[in-house]
């Protein structure tokens, strides 16, 4: 069974702090994603990566960066946290691109609820 583990369940940070959200998957998946979930707005893609050291912007990349130094680990970085980044952050992984979508659903972690004060 695929397991996507997010290092923190809850996180409270101050405005202006640099914040690291960590995600690890154990199924050798090529693709990894960071989403933000807000009530009424659903799941919005921040960044994704289809290979080590590769990254692509999603729909809302402003204020965020990512790092993927190892295949199993994908980090989301808030360079200078702001109150409007208070949200639930979800990491996900899936099998490599090019395969049938039918065989590569997204597997999500349980989320990190970040509060910026």
């Amino acid at each position: 069974d695929v397991k996507v583990t997010q290092s923190s369940r809850y996180l409270v940070k101050r405005t202006g702090e640099k914040v690291f959200l960590e995600c690890v998957q154990d199924m050798d998946h090529e693709n990894m994603f960071w989403y933000r979930q807000d009530p009424g707005l659903g799941l919005r893609l921040i960044y994704f990566s289809y290979d080590v050291k590769m990254k692509e912007k999603g729909d809302i990349p402003e204020g965020y960066s990512v790092s993927r130094e190892k295949k199993e680990r994908f980090s989301l970085i808030l360079e200078s946290a702001s109150t409007n980044q208070t949200s639930m952050y979800l990491c996900a992984s899936s099998l490599m691109a090019g395969l049938s979508s039918y065989n590569s659903p997204l597997h999500f972690g349980n989320g990190t609820r970040l509060t910026v004060t």
Binding site: G40, G42, L45, L90, S94, S100, L106, F108
Partner: protein, 113 residues
């Protein structure tokens, strides 16, 4: 611009009733339509999915109905149970192309005992 529009945003159903969640899409290139279920405190998980070459797919009490000409698909939960209370997301993607699903905004379902 929402490529996948989901409704309603919230839904309250009595135990034993039918829950219906609707989604509409605009991109005719979409050819894979999964539904994800998210329980409180958990991440979303794939519930059921359909390809456009069939009009209906059923798994237990969960059924996807698909109308290609109308560019609409819906999730029906028969005999809804309190344990079905969750947030449901529809999604659409292009098989073999972009592997990133486009999600609807979600429906919060509450099933009262």
């Amino acid at each position: 611009q929402q490529q996948v529009k989901q409704s309603p945003q919230s839904l309250i159903v009595q135990k034993g009733g039918i829950s219906i969640i609707n989604c509409a899409y605009e991109n005719t290139a979409f050819d894979y339509f999964p539904w994800y279920q998210q329980f409180p405190g958990k991440g979303p998980a794939l519930l059921i999915a359909i390809r456009p070459d069939v009009s209906e797919k059923k798994e237990g009490r969960f059924t996807i109905s698909f109308n290609k000409s109308a560019k609409q698909f819906s999730l029906h939960i028969m005999d809804s149970q309190p344990g079905d209370s969750a947030t449901y997301f529809c999604a659409a993607s292009i098989n073999g192309g972009s592997y990133i699903p486009t999600f609807g905004r979600g429906t919060s379902l509450i099933v009262h005992p």
